[in-house]
């Protein structure tokens, strides 16, 4: 794999909370990378460190050790203001809830990213409208979030996360509040756009049915990287971690492709 194709990379990332006897290791020496055009699921049971890992990948949380790189740039080497600027230009977000600005319409929510990055123009507005139409929201783009269903709100959030052509799109439990049909619809849309636009997509989910649209599955357990598999692999151990085969220590910390190769 060409190094230039890697969009984001976690290198031996650890996160400790507390100190002394009360110290808890939320993330323990996790390494993996995601290529452009690749959609990866970050899975694991509750408390496994998925969201903490996502927060570090987004530059919202400082790792205790290790580093996170997006497009080759170390997020933690930046000051807070530069990191915020980097987030609005290079990272797209979809959250579990409170995704949208309540007083902006669907279109205005998408346009907000353009305004924040100084890219708002007639052409970019047209691009936002087209993106919403592509996501099936052509008729609802002037509706406020409270007038949209949960699935529609998530699709608006997806549009917002992609409008700036980010290097990485991060989604935290985007299907948590949706019914099954809409959940599949949202993830399928996200996967399609990530593949089509050549972004790197990382989705935290506890719903294993959603991983079928992803290219790889990064499985965390108790803060450690348990395994990296593909949807075609036997996924039974994701549902039952006790049955999982542990990744050898010498593989952890290596390049994600090597890890994936070692597992598969």
């Amino acid at each position: 794999m060409a190094a230039s194709n890697v969009a984001t990379e976690a290198r031996s990332v650890s996160k400790l909370y507390g100190s002394g006897a009360n110290q808890v290791k939320a993330i323990d020496d996790v390494s993996f990378s995601v290529e452009k055009g690749e959609f990866v699921a970050l899975v694991g049971p509750s408390g496994s460190g998925k969201t903490t890992m996502l927060a570090m990948l987004a530059g919202l949380l400082q790792p205790s050790s290790g580093s996170v790189l997006i497009d080759g740039e170390d997020l933690m080497g930046m000051g807070e203001a530069r990191r915020a600027a980097f987030r609005r230009r290079r990272i797209g977000f979809t959250f579990q809830a409170n995704n949208l600005v309540s007083y902006l319409t669907a279109l205005e929510n998408v346009e907000l990213m353009l305004r924040l990055t100084g890219q708002y123009s007639r052409e970019s507005k047209t691009r936002a409208e087209k993106l919403l139409e592509m996501l099936g929201l052509g008729e609802r783009m002037h509706a406020l979030p409270r007038e949209l269903s949960g699935g529609q709100q998530q699709r608006v959030a997806i549009a917002r996360s992609l409008i700036n052509n980010p290097a990485v799109v991060l989604a935290d439990e985007p299907t948590a509040s949706l019914d099954t049909e809409r959940a599949f619809q949202v993830v399928e849309t996200m996967a399609h756009l990530v593949h089509e636009q050549g972004r790197a997509g990382i989705m935290v989910t506890h719903d294993l049915r959603m991983v079928e649209y992803t290219d790889r599955i990064v499985h965390l357990l108790d803060g450690r990287l348990e395994q990296i598999v593909t949807p075609d692999d036997d996924l039974s151990c994701l549902a039952d971690p006790a049955s999982c085969q542990m990744i050898p220590d010498d593989v952890l910390g290596a390049d994600s492709a090597e890890v994936a190769a070692a597992i598969s």
Binding site: L54, L60, A85, R88, L104
Partner: protein, 386 residues
């Protein structure tokens, strides 16, 4: 900061019902503060207006009176001595008392300040219609605009004044010679009579015909050079025995109850502003608390703190300005329908000062909520931190 302005305007417009309601709360605070300011100005003017408008630069008291007009007596000899001092242009005697215009006159009964002045001398206010006082001992009077409005008296009309003398109420018939502009004193409108007539009319234990050169309460001193107030003040007190000379401001600040009244109203005004500060601060604080998840999300997607802070500030200023505008308009409307006897004066500088202070307390009250929004962690968007 176009994005901050955009966010502030969108949020205000899309939540206009809520913000309008709060603007109305600010309007009520504005109304309260403006009315306290107008009351302060009205009561202050009611106490000081005549002295403030005196066509003189200095007011001379008896030195033992401790600047109390009622306790001060300035005799003819002292006035003559004052007239003889180099730099003094003219001196006029002024006597203060009160009387009632009974309701047998065209309008309603009215308590007035009965002020004795020397015709043509400092102390006699200029007339806006009719003519000034001429004769030293005539049953003639000038009435101020307020008396004319309330009683309906006009130049040439005759009216009674009722004064307690020797244990009974006595009526004196006076003719309106002229009307002056508003000349309130002692929170009452004023009528002016010649000082000799005043000496006869004023409340007294034993009715008298008055004397040719009665003692008055104070003397108004007009200077040849109005710029030399302090020099002449010292010169008068040095050259004339048993007097105190003060400028007009000191004189009206020492009218009965003036300072205490103004301090009370200033304190009320301060408390009203403090309450306004807390109410505005509280509202925006609650609003920010409700928006914490949204602010966290905005920060997570990379919205700079400056955009969030400026958007909040703009919103506070807009809502505050709307409230002040509503409150100002309602106050103005009410001021038009208040009857003239109520001591409310919406005077330009006092109103601007009151409005300015409300415009300042809005953003000041909102500072706490802005600080709170700046402290919101973007991790909240992911359900972490907080």
């Amino acid at each position: 900061m176009p994005t901050a302005i955009y966010l502030a305007l969108k949020e205000t417009w899309r939540n206009k019902g809520r913000f309008l309601l709060f603007s109305l709360v600010i309007a009520l605070i504005t109304l309260l503060i403006l009315f306290i300011a107008a009351l302060g100005e009205g009561l202050g003017a009611g106490n000081r207006e005549y002295i403030e408008k005196l066509n003189a630069e200095l007011v001379v008291y008896q030195d033992t009176a401790d600047l109390s007009i009622a306790s001060s007596r300035i005799g003819c000899e002292t006035r003559n001595a004052l007239r003889g001092i180099n730099g003094v242009q003219d001196v006029g005697a002024i006597g203060f008392s009160s009387a009632t215009i009974p309701d047998d006159n065209p309008g309603q009964e009215l308590d007035v300040s009965l002020i004795g002045v020397e015709p043509g001398k400092p102390g006699e206010p200029p007339v806006v219609s009719g003519q000034g006082l001429e004769r030293r001992n005539a049953n003639e009077a000038l009435i101020d605009r307020m008396v004319a409005e309330v009683t309906g008296l006009r130049v040439g009309d005759r009216f009674n004044v009722r004064v307690p003398q020797g244990g009974e109420e006595k009526l004196f018939l006076l003719k309106v010679l002229g009307v002056t502009d508003s000349q309130m004193y002692g929170i009452r409108p004023s009528i002016f009579v010649p000082i000799v007539k005043w000496d006869e009319l004023r409340p007294q234990a034993t009715p008298s015909r008055g004397t040719e050169d009665p003692a008055c309460n104070v003397a108004a001193v007009k200077l040849q050079d109005p710029e030399q107030i302090e020099v002449m003040r010292q010169s008068l007190t040095a050259q004339v025995r048993n007097i105190d000379a003060v400028d007009l401001q000191t004189a009206y600040e020492n009218t009965p109850g003036y300072s205490a009244q103004q301090q009370t109203l200033s304190t009320q005004n301060g408390f009203a502003l403090l309450i306004g500060l807390l109410v505005i601060g509280g509202f925006f604080q609650i609003q920010t608390l409700q928006k914490v998840p949204q602010i966290g999300m905005l920060k997570a997607i990379g919205t700079p703190n400056s955009v969030i802070a400026v958007a909040s500030l703009i919103q506070i200023v807009i809502i505050n300005a709307l409230g002040v505008l509503f409150g100002g308009l309602v106050s103005y409307g009410l001021s038009l329908i208040f009857p003239p006897g109520i001591p409310l004066v919406f005077e330009g500088s006092a109103i601007i000062q009151a409005l300015g202070s409300i415009m300042v307390i809005g953003p000041l009250g909102g500072l706490v909520s802005i600080r709170l929004s700046l402290r919101v962690e973007p991790l909240i968007a992911l359900g972490l931190g907080g």
